[in-house]
């Protein structure tokens, strides 16, 4: 039953990732998805193999990686914004083709 909020969170992430135009909003959706996966790891760990910590460590590393990824992505977004004055991905087409 802990998986239900996680499932809905993931669905929201997918929806946001596909529909939003703002790059930062897309990144937020991405975080939602990552987070729901973390929950899954932890839940499976806790309910199936409570004597081990593997799932928890997975979640731990996932958080660290998510932090790194967000930092780089935001750096890129700020850089793009500096050049193009936009954060809307449908308008940033300079590198296309």
């Amino acid at each position: 039953m802990y998986l239900i909020p996680s499932l809905i969170m993931f669905g929201c992430g997918v929806y946001g990732f596909i529909t939003r135009k703002n790059m930062i909003a897309i990144l937020i959706s991405l975080e939602l998805m990552l987070n729901s996966v973390d929950i899954n790891f932890v839940v499976f760990n806790r309910f199936l193999y409570p004597e081990q910590l593997d799932g928890m460590f997975f979640a731990l590393f996932a958080i660290a990686i998510a932090a790194a990824e967000t930092a780089v992505a935001i750096a890129i977004i700020i850089n793009v914004y500096r050049v193009a004055k936009k954060v809307d991905i449908s308008e940033i087409t300079k590198l296309k083709f």
Partner: protein, 171 residues
């Protein structure tokens, strides 16, 4: 799931997660979206606490809520004029997104409910570990040791710091 108190806390956390997730991806103002994300992450932390993973919950709050969301807020401040709404989505794209999300959710839910025992599985008794165990497991090379991924993550973070500096540097 033993006590009613636990159940209530779980219900609040679950409802918060669901509600704030939906809000985070549907709101028009980007700063609000980031705030809703923060609430979602905090509710997640609550769930971790409830499952007796205090350390993970603390990391969740410190890194996610404290670090990443702040980063988002800074980025939003830097790139957006305050008070400006996002453009309305085209209905075509919106329906595509909604259908994809629902399709995914439906399949996962189908999988979930086909294994019915998960729905009301009992929380097994806590194995009882502390921070010390986590620390030694992180730096251990034994069977359940995580030294190698730990080091890999360290290098990733270093690379990420350098990358962030190089990319964001004003030329």
């Amino acid at each position: 799931m033993d006590s009613v108190g636990n159940l209530i806390i779980y219900a609040i956390a679950a409802i918060a997660i669901i509600a704030f997730s939906i809000l985070a991806v549907t709101t028009k103002k980007i700063l609000r979206s980031a705030t809703y994300l923060l609430f979602t992450l905090l509710a997640t932390a609550v769930i971790y606490f409830q499952m007796d993973y205090e350390f993970l919950g603390a990391v969740q709050i410190a890194v996610y809520a404290g670090g990443i969301v702040v980063l988002f807020v800074f980025a939003i401040m830097l790139t957006h004029k305050p008070g400006k709404d996002a453009e309305p989505l085209s209905s075509h794209k919106k329906w595509l997104g909604v259908s994809a999300a629902f399709a995914g959710a439906a399949v996962c839910a189908g999988a979930l409910f086909s294994y019915g025992k998960f729905c009301c599985a009992k929380l097994l008794p806590d194995s009882g570990f502390d921070i010390k165990e986590i620390g030694s497991a992180l730096l251990d090379t034994d069977k359940f040791g995580y030294l190698l991924p730990f080091e890999a993550i360290s290098i990733l973070l270093l690379a990420c710091i350098i990358g962030g500096v190089v990319i964001a540097r004003r030329r």
